[in-house]
């Protein structure tokens, strides 16, 4: 077939340009480490990458939620541990007070300590978190939950709201307990209703001061300690649960990352060998272009 000189030149040039653009694409893939640099490189893959990235980002947010939840639950546990210690001490004093050998002076001294403990527990029940929010007032975090009139009447001003956090795609975990559940809803000594822990402590102190210790106080303190232990056990169970959730999320993240990498990232070995192959081909195209362009009958005229 006849070949026109211009066409020969153009075709040689086109071949070089074409090779160059392929080489550049491989070079871009190698330098970015990504197989899909633009959606058109792999449209279905690009959408899948977005899905996987979204999945990973949401999971990372769950992890952040878990951290927030953990610190709240740990704070609650630490406060309640102190409360438990105080109540244990109050219980020891109550047991001692019931001992018939105690003098009224001893009992008055004990009552004094119990008043001290009552204040301590009250302060603990009115603990604020790092943001200045009350820990045990339910949703009304700006309202001090517990107050007293000083003569044995204790009032809870919070509500029963319990904050939940999203720790997994379908999992919400409560990260706190209301003051009602912790300090108020404690079976009374008679077993007929509820009595808050402060009233129990107040009554204990009053009885000791009057030198008429009542064994009912012991039952009430036992109930209070048991209730708080129960709350702590629940909080601990929640901590365990979100810890497990965290592990699940971690492995989820790993898998999402693997899946994303499989779609998006480049196989370096393959791309590197492709690059050297393509540069070889480009060199061949360039060299042959020069060789062919130098051929002309006019050189011999």
């Amino acid at each position: 077939m006849r070949v026109s000189t211009v066409h020969m030149f153009q075709q040689g040039l086109d071949a070089i340009v074409d090779r160059q653009s392929k080489l550049l694409k491989t070079q871009l893939q190698l330098s970015s480490g990504k197989r899909v640099n633009n959606p058109s490189d792999d449209p279905a893959g690009a959408a899948r990458i977005l899905d996987l990235q979204q999945g990973a980002a949401i999971t990372r947010q769950y992890q952040a939620n878990i951290l927030a939840g953990q610190s709240r639950l740990e704070l609650e546990d630490a406060v309640l541990a102190s409360v438990t210690n105080s109540l244990q001490r109050a219980r020891e004093l109550a047991v001692g007070g019931l001992n018939g050998t105690q003098s009224i002076e001893d009992r008055t001294a004990m009552a004094k300590e119990i008043r001290q403990i009552t204040d301590e527990v009250m302060a603990l029940a009115n603990t604020k978190d790092a943001n200045g929010d009350y820990l045990f007032s339910g949703f009304q975090t700006q309202t001090a939950p517990f107050s007293t009139n000083g003569s044995g009447t204790y009032t809870y001003s919070g509500d029963q709201g319990q904050r939940f956090l999203q720790v997994g795609p379908t999992r919400q975990v409560s990260v706190g307990d209301s003051g009602l559940a912790v300090f108020m809803k404690i079976p009374d000594g008679a077993g007929t209703g509820f009595q808050d822990v402060f009233t129990s402590l107040y009554n204990l102190a009053t009885d000791l001061e009057a030198n008429t210790p009542n064994s009912r106080s012991l039952t009430e303190l036992d109930n209070a300690i048991e209730n708080i232990l129960g709350v702590r056990a629940q909080a601990g169970a929640r901590l365990n649960a979100i810890d497990r959730e965290r592990e699940v999320n971690d492995s989820m993240l790993f898998e999402l990352e693997q899946a994303r990498s499989a779609v998006e990232d480049i196989d370096f070995a393959e791309a590197a060998s492709r690059l050297s192959r393509q540069s070889l081909v480009l060199e061949a195209a360039q060299q042959s272009f020069i060789r062919v362009q130098n051929l002309s009958l006019f050189n011999f005229l």
Binding site: S4, P39, S40, D42, Q54, I58, N131, G161
Partner: protein, 644 residues
């Protein structure tokens, strides 16, 4: 010998012409559109003698253009397709790279925003967390506006290009018409000999025209060529040319339409234009740009509306119901400038049915008694329910359409439900206190004046949320368990009963006065639960959790896609269109190269061939000169004989 001299002279002349033409070929070897020429030689009329016919030399019959109309046509048509695909691919790449950009794309913005909502859920009283949410909302707004603005820029770039292309086409048509005239004249003057270089020049113009638009050519006997575009609109007829201009769309003056104009009559030909850069641009505008911008707008509408709806069900830090959080973009309605009636059309989104909202545009037409809705993309009719009144609007594809006024038959309006909506997306709340993270209601077991619990059973109730029928509670609602009848009686802001059997119903969900809650375990007779206003409930994150749940809620595309899902789908679609255009354009390049190769094989100049021809014609010229010498020496011999 006189004959021999004549023969030699004819040869000298003929080979001089041949050498000239070869030189011309060499000189024009790289002139675009040049067709190689060849001197066609023939014998001169022989002389009759007693011994028969004696040859009298060579003559130039014609200078022929080695031209194949079929091959040239093929180059032109593949050029049209190729340049159409190239420009389409060029623009589609820009859209798909824009939307797919990891930094500027929408997906990261949506993700960051919902992360910040979860941040508020983690810590609803924290003002910094709320500020972060507001600033993420603002950057989401910026992203919507940026993407939409970029698409708008592409749109006006297309308008500019179309304006330029049409005037370029008009002036090419003009030039072709005038060169037609020259060719007809030249052919007449030359007694039918072809004006080769003029023909090349015209072919080159046709080639340039075919880069702009797909054309059809019809050669006439007088040497002129007629050119038509689109559905047979005659762009060039002999020495007359039509003009192409742009003008505003009958509905939307800012949308450029292509107008074909001959004399005083004109017609809009946008839809029939195909091929070439113009065709590629039109195809891109209708096929990629419109639907991409509509999709983006739709995500904005759905997200803003859904978020607002849930936000309104919450309570902010000041104890007020949530205000509208986002500004929602609006539908555009354009009456045709051909309308003669005074009908009015208003279009709203059917907020209960975002799943049905499409990315299409529509034309609502009135035939004198009925309205009909037509989808612009494929011309299909969309069935509407309802009567078009405010009380009972037309419903179709997630839209509520209310008509009024006095339209007359054949009046039409264009409805673009989502095109400009991304631009209308905005943040309305500026005060972090106004983020409604809490539920407006709380639910508690009964307590006495000191806040001590009074229930004796172990039943618990948990709030799930409120719906749009909820109104603020004043007295609250008290539920009292009636163990004998296994039910709760409730009184207060609302009254009635709900049955609850602890054995079978534990965990069951109930809704009273728009408040949804679940009941579990066993209440004692007379146990009470209270639904009350969540005053001071600043630490409540119930609504923030529900808001963050919208991230993964599948509200679009028939309930199959979340906001990000719809965006991923948009990216996949434009990516696919770009990829397809890339593949098609590569294939078309190969076809074009083939067509050019065939044309060049027939018509292109090969310098080696011309060099060989130079040698050949030079030799023949020299041989002819030798013949003259021989004739001269013959003559000399004869003279010598006579002189003696």
């Amino acid at each position: 010998m006189a004959d021999l001299l004549g023969i030699a002279t004819s040869g000298l002349l003929a080979f001089q012409r041949s050498l000239d033409t070869t030189g011309h070929n060499i000189a024009n070897a790289s002139t675009p559109g040049y067709t190689r020429q060849r001197v066609e030689l023939g014998t001169q009329i022989p002389q009759l003698s007693g011994a028969g016919f004696i040859g009298s030399g060579v003559q130039v019959e014609t200078v022929r253009r080695l031209y194949d109309g079929f091959l040239t046509d093929r180059v032109r048509s593949t050029t049209s397709t190729s340049s159409s695909l190239d420009i389409y691919h060029d623009f589609a790449t820009r859209v798909s790279n824009l939307l797919g950009n990891a930094q500027a794309g929408l997906n990261a913005g949506i993700q960051d925003f919902f992360d910040s909502v979860q941040g508020v859920a983690d810590d609803p009283t924290s003002i910094p967390a709320r500020q972060v949410m507001l600033s993420e909302a603002e950057s989401l707004e910026t992203r919507f506006q940026y993407l939409n603005g970029q698409l708008d820029t592409l749109r006006s770039e297309i308008d500019r290009q179309v304006t330029g292309l049409t005037s370029q086409m008009s002036s090419l048509a003009e030039s072709i018409a005038s060169i037609n005239q020259e060719i007809v004249l030249a052919m007449g003057n030359a007694g039918g000999q072809p004006p080769n270089d003029l023909l090349d020049k015209r072919d080159q113009m046709l080639q340039e025209l075919s880069e702009l638009v797909s054309i059809r050519t019809f050669e006439q006997d007088d040497g002129s060529v007629n050119v038509s575009i689109g559905n047979g609109q005659a762009l060039v007829t002999g020495s007359r040319a039509a003009t192409l201009t742009v003008s505003g769309n009958e509905f939307d003056a800012s949308k450029m339409e292509i107008v074909f104009q001959v004399g005083t009559s004109s017609a809009v030909v946008t839809d029939s234009i195909s091929g070439g850069q113009l065709g590629g641009l039109m195809e891109f505008r209708a096929g990629v740009l419109d639907s991409a911008q509509n999709s983006l707008g739709r995500i904005g509408i759905a997200m803003a509306s859904e978020f607002n709806a849930q936000h309104a069900l919450g309570m902010d830090l000041n104890g007020n119901p949530g205000n509208a959080f986002f500004a929602v973009g609006a539908s555009q309605v354009f009456p045709s400038n051909n309308n003669s009636g005074s009908g009015t059309v208003s279009v709203a989104y059917d907020t209960a049915n975002f799943a049905a909202l499409k990315v299409d545009d529509y034309v609502l037409g009135y035939d004198g008694s009925n309205y009909a809705l037509t989808r612009v993309s494929d011309g299909s009719t969309v069935p509407m329910s309802g009567a078009g009144t405010a009380a009972n609007p037309f419903q179709a594809d997630g839209l509520s359409i209310v008509v009024g006024g006095a339209p007359v038959a054949n009046d039409r309006v264009l409805i673009r439900p989502t095109r400009a909506a991304a631009n209308g997306f905005g943040v309305l709340i500026g005060d972090a206190q106004q983020i409604a993270a809490a539920a407006p209601v709380r639910i508690s077991e009964a307590t006495n004046a000191n806040g001590a619990p009074t229930n004796s059973g172990n039943a618990a109730v948990k709030l799930n949320g409120v719906d749009s029928t909820f109104g603020p509670l004043s007295a609250g609602i008290t539920l009292t368990y009636d163990a004998a009848n296994l039910r709760f009686n409730y009184t207060g802001d609302a009254s009635g009963t709900i049955s609850y059997d602890p054995v079978t119903d534990t965990g069951a969900t109930y809704t009273i006065a728009g408040v949804t809650f679940s009941v579990s375990s066993t209440p004692a007779n007379g146990d009470q639960f209270v639904l009350s206003d969540n005053s001071n409930g600043t630490g409540d994150n119930t609504n923030a959790l529900l808001l963050s749940g919208l991230q993964t809620a599948a509200v679009l595309d028939g309930g199959s896609n979340s906001f990000e899902g719809a965006y991923a789908k948009l990216i996949a679609e434009t990516g696919l269109q770009t990829r397809q255009a890339e593949i098609d354009s590569e294939a078309q390049h190969a076809l074009l190269a083939q067509a050019r190769e065939s044309r060049e094989a027939a018509s292109g100049v090969n310098l080696d061939e011309e060099a060989a021809n130079l040698l050949r014609f030079q030799q023949q010229y020299q041989a002819m000169a030798q013949v003259i010498r021989i004739a001269d020496s013959l003559f000399e011999s004869l003279l010598g004989a006579v002189r003696r």
